[in-house]
């Protein structure tokens, strides 16, 4: 029992990271109707941002976080201008290929600059964690879960309670109509890219202390997050979050009870099961409703 709870805790922690990256996929998809295959690299850049600022430049952790997030916001804006904006009137495929190209460029750019050696990063806090009668709650995992929870709540309030959030939703539902009403569509899409890059950066910052920071980090997380988005019914925000958590939990249990080397495969078993049995996703709804 206590083992299962321990695994559940760990699984939710890693799943929260997948959920953050999955949110980035979904938000960009909803705003632009294309999939940004560089979303995982945003997380990798966030992790490297921490390595550069704290290990390389020796800055304090909090300053490293601030600088990394500022850099990610700027990067999201440049990504929009360079990778998406010139192709915005084209169909799905050219844009997707453009994001895949960007992903390859980022991976190899980092590889050329830092080499393949993985780096390590200390955790957010020095606190050891909490002990609950046999159940050990590691402080980094607690931080991941708490920060993800706060982000999800803030994001919900932003989209549901603010006019700007409504304008973003309107843009994702009907761009032509949004522009007829005077909503600056290009600006809304820019904002979405900036926010998604920051989300990816946060995921990278959070996960860096528990995984090795290497160029492979982006692809590793992106695959799980992408699977999570599909399990959630691509485009569905609560679905993406639940999908991310589900994958984190299942791969943690699978690694413990079945086999560690197959850890990365469990996400895809779950994905196949969903594609076969429930292609509309976890909280599948009518197409007319999804917008």
């Amino acid at each position: 029992m206590s083992i299962a709870l321990q695994l559940l805790f760990t699984g939710i922690g890693i799943g929260a990271v997948y959920a953050l990256v999955a949110l980035g996929f979904v938000l960009i998809y909803r705003a632009t109707n294309v999939v940004n295959f560089a979303q995982g690299q945003f997380a990798m850049l966030g992790a490297f941002g921490m390595v550069i600022t704290t290990e390389g430049l020796g800055l304090p952790y909090w300053l490293g976080i601030l600088l990394t997030l500022a850099a990610m916001a700027l990067f999201g804006a440049l990504f929009n201008l360079g990778v998406y904006y010139p192709l915005r009137h084209r169909s799905f495929l050219p844009v997707v290929i453009s994001t895949i190209g960007a992903s390859i460029l980022l991976t190899n750019g980092v590889l050329a600059t830092y080499g393949p050696e993985p780096a390590t990063l200390p955790g957010l806090t020095d606190l050891p964690g909490l002990n609950f009668g046999g159940l050990f709650l590691d402080s980094q995992y607690l931080a991941i879960i708490a920060i993800t929870l706060v982000l999800v709540v803030l994001q919900y309030l932003f989209f549901e309670r603010t006019l700007l959030g409504k304008k973003l939703q309107a843009t994702s539902q009907d761009k032509e109509m949004a522009s007829l009403l005077g909503i600056p569509v290009a600006g809304m899409i820019m904002l979405t890219f900036v926010y998604s890059a920051v989300l990816g950066g946060i995921a990278g910052i959070l996960v860096a202390p528990i995984l090795f920071v290497s160029v492979g980090l982006g692809a590793q997380i992106a695959l799980k997050a992408f699977a999570a988005s599909i399990i959630g019914g691509f485009g569905d925000i609560p679905g993406a979050i639940a999908g991310g958590l589900a994958i984190g939990v299942i791969e943690t249990f699978g690694a413990f009870y079945i086999s560690v080397p197959y850890k990365d495969a469990y996400a895809f078993v779950l994905l196949f099961a969903f594609l076969l049995l429930r292609p509309q996703g976890l909280f599948g709804e009518k197409v007319s409703q999804k917008a």
Binding site: L163, K166, K167, Q169, A170, Q173, D174, E176, M177, A178, S179, L180, L181, G182, I183, P184, V185, S288, Q289, K290, A291
Partner: protein, 243 residues
Amino acid sequence: MSLLELREVDAAYGAVQALRGVSLSVARGEIVALLGANGAGKSTTLRAISGLLRPAGGTILFDGQPIGGLHPERVVRLGIAHVPEGRRVFPGLSVRENILLGASNRRASRAEMAQDASAMFALFPDLVRFADAPGWTLSGGQQQMLALARGLMAKPTLLLLDEPSLGLAPLIVQQVFRIIRQIRETGTTVLLVEQNARVALSIADRGYVLETGRLAVSGAPAELWNNEEVRAAYLGGRVAKAG
């Protein structure tokens, strides 16, 4: 001076020439009907005015200023609201949110917007009980009311309406047209695209008839209505169908 003037406007979708040298004008305070058969270019004319389509040639003047080729976000800020074909209600936003977003073209405080939204609910009382329902749950008639309300939230000088009667029951059509007349009484100028020529001409001050991208005839409603040729070619069939 006309509020809106089109001079020799051409427009095309790729290789498909949709408008050829269309010239028309709308004076302040008028309701002008733009009629014609399917594919005549009525919607294209409105799209060229509101900026959804960049005209290939000609001039569009609003209040004397050229607006041809301006982005829709700029055009609506100048005071031209376009309620397009098909209503285009945001399906995932509530009725109230749809209405509020109609004010995106102007700087208004939250309180002002809430007040303007209340005025819309007063004008379209049928929408009140759906205020918090998502747009996709509305019937066609309700969506049309919502699209009109959202367009009016822009406080436009000129309102472009594309087939507001399409798919509505006769009783609802009457209701919508009564509201259009009311809108004009508050000082808003209306350019009205319709296939339902009888209803459109019943409230219009003047009308234009488009035929495959060209202006065929224009004149007072009675003139158009009594012109045998026009009736037979462009209006007759429609009237019978819309009956």
